[in-house]
């Protein structure tokens, strides 16, 4: 594909910043606006931008379809698994206090962090899966 050199260079420049921003939003979710959902969308947007510029085939080399399809349930599993862990630690489902009985505030923070990781994985992979499904039509 022949593309404008400006578009290609600017895209390549932007991609690392987009991914870092996704990580920033992910971790900043504890303190302000943000969290796994927003971060997942931003991360997926980075890949979608890459796919728009360099084609679906190269994007699928970076993140293959099978990986996307596995990541969707894995994210939910991280979320639900966090809840199940607290059940094994003698608390109710999703009670993060169980993660650290001495510092329950810390435990709550850890719990939310893990759950948000799960959200990130599922949301980003679902966005990519939807993009692949539409982009791959008629191929």
């Amino acid at each position: 594909m022949k593309l404008d050199v400006v578009l290609r260079v600017v895209t390549k420049l932007m991609l690392p910043f987009m991914l870092v921003f996704a990580v920033y939003v992910q971790f900043h979710g504890d303190y302000g606006p943000g969290g796994g959902f927003q971060a997942g969308v931003i991360a997926a947007a980075a890949l979608i931008l890459y796919a728009l510029m360099f084609g679906l085939t190269s994007a699928m080399r970076v993140v293959p379809t099978w990986l996307v399809e596995k990541m969707i349930p894995v994210g939910v599993m991280i979320y639900g698994g966090t809840g199940v862990v607290s059940m094994f630690l003698h608390e109710n489902f999703l009670n993060y206090d169980a993660l650290d009985h001495h510092h329950t505030v810390h435990a709550q923070e850890w719990g939310v962090f893990l759950v948000e990781v799960g959200v990130f994985v599922t949301v980003s992979s679902t966005m990519i899966a939807i993009f692949y499904a539409f982009g791959g039509r008629g191929r």
Binding site: P73, V84, F93, L94, Y96
Partner: protein, 493 residues
Amino acid sequence: MISHHLPVLIVLVPLFGALLSALTSRGSVSWGIALIAMVTTLAATIGLLSEVLHDGVISYEIGGWAPPIGIEYRVDLANALVILIVSTIAAVIMPYARVSVAKEIVEDQQAWFYTMYQLCVAGLIGIAVTGDAFNAFVFLEVSSLATYTMIALGQSRRSLLSAYQYLIMGTIGATFYIIGVGLLLTITGTLNFVDLAARIAVTPYDRAMLTALAFITVGIGLKLALFPLHVWLPNAYAKAPSTGTALLASTATKVAVYLLIRMYFSVFGIDNIIGDFPVLELLLVLSIAAMFFASFVAVFERNVKRLLAYSSVAQVGYMILGLSMATSTALTGTLVHLANHALMKGAAFLAIGAVAYQLGSVSLEKMKGIGRVMPVTMGCFVVAGLSLIGVPGTVGFISKYYLVVAAFEKGWWWLAFMIVASSLIAVFYVGRVVEVAWFSEPDKKTSELKEAPLSLLLPTVVLAAACVFFGVDASLTAGLAEAAAKALFGGSL
């Protein structure tokens, strides 16, 4: 330790089963996972039911946050009964699924089918178990989205269209429900069912409350296919894979009926609803219309799956009829019909699924003499059909008995007459299938067929036998329903 977590486990087991099924790409492996998950869920449900019978209402705080701030799972007799229906049907169908799904769905999509099957079960059980209006909405969406996908996995291209139709209607229904819940939240400031009931009792019953009631009624009405909001149902049932149809027909509408009962009797309070605006009278008229109109359409339907789907719309009419009479006996009739209809429709759709498996078609013209070559399958269909009519000795009789008695108690002789009259229409649509299947000569193609394989027959026979067993000895189903109805009328949640 496990017994404490049972209310959440019955949702978690199918959910994690669905996730594991999604991770495998082989149909047979994910079938195994689904089988284990469904049997475990059933075992957990039975444990939960015995706990409720022994200790009364169970409350479980999700995340350790006490209600009404946190989400509460609350199990009493009414939802224990509904959960038992869902998990029993889901487990009984599983042995059937393997062979039927292998034939109807391409290999690389089978794992997705089992994922959606389990997600749907998780969502339906979630609606029943939760004590939080918004959480119920989330589970409503979980089960609905899984259902749309399950329908779309059907064989024909029309499946996609049916799934899309249902998606539009289902989304409108869910949106209406959430608008109603949003209004309730603005009026009362809470989402917990118990807390809502307590606050509604001391709030003046004004127009905002009536609007909330209207939105919730129409929203759930769409989900349970109340006439005239039933248009999505026949196509959805006819085009879904046979296993999916059996699951949906015997569980999905039941859970929606339960949610409506919960809203009417436990949240709004039935005394509030019998106000200036004739809500119950409206439901009464619509349910009678459903009983007659849908049965009438079923008589002229040539596709047996669609015929049974229209019969479902009519049967939902009986359930709402019991609700709208708003007496303890009538509500018992509704609750027991939830269980009974699940058994008979499950048996009927499984039998027709077995015919589809052998014959490759479910249109009446091609089923000539099928009863002579597949006697067990069609025998089960006849039993299920007799239940649909309400012949004594089958479960259908038990439900209609309670409804007729309730009508007599109210002094509504005409209604008792109408219940019997609408049952007579069922004689015609069941009779048409029986006539074609048993009294016509098998044509060349049909006579070469054999009886369905054992794995298809066994679940069908189990459900058909249950139709007769609970028709003769209704102490379990009717006993549970009666106790649940009493509890709902006591206003206790």
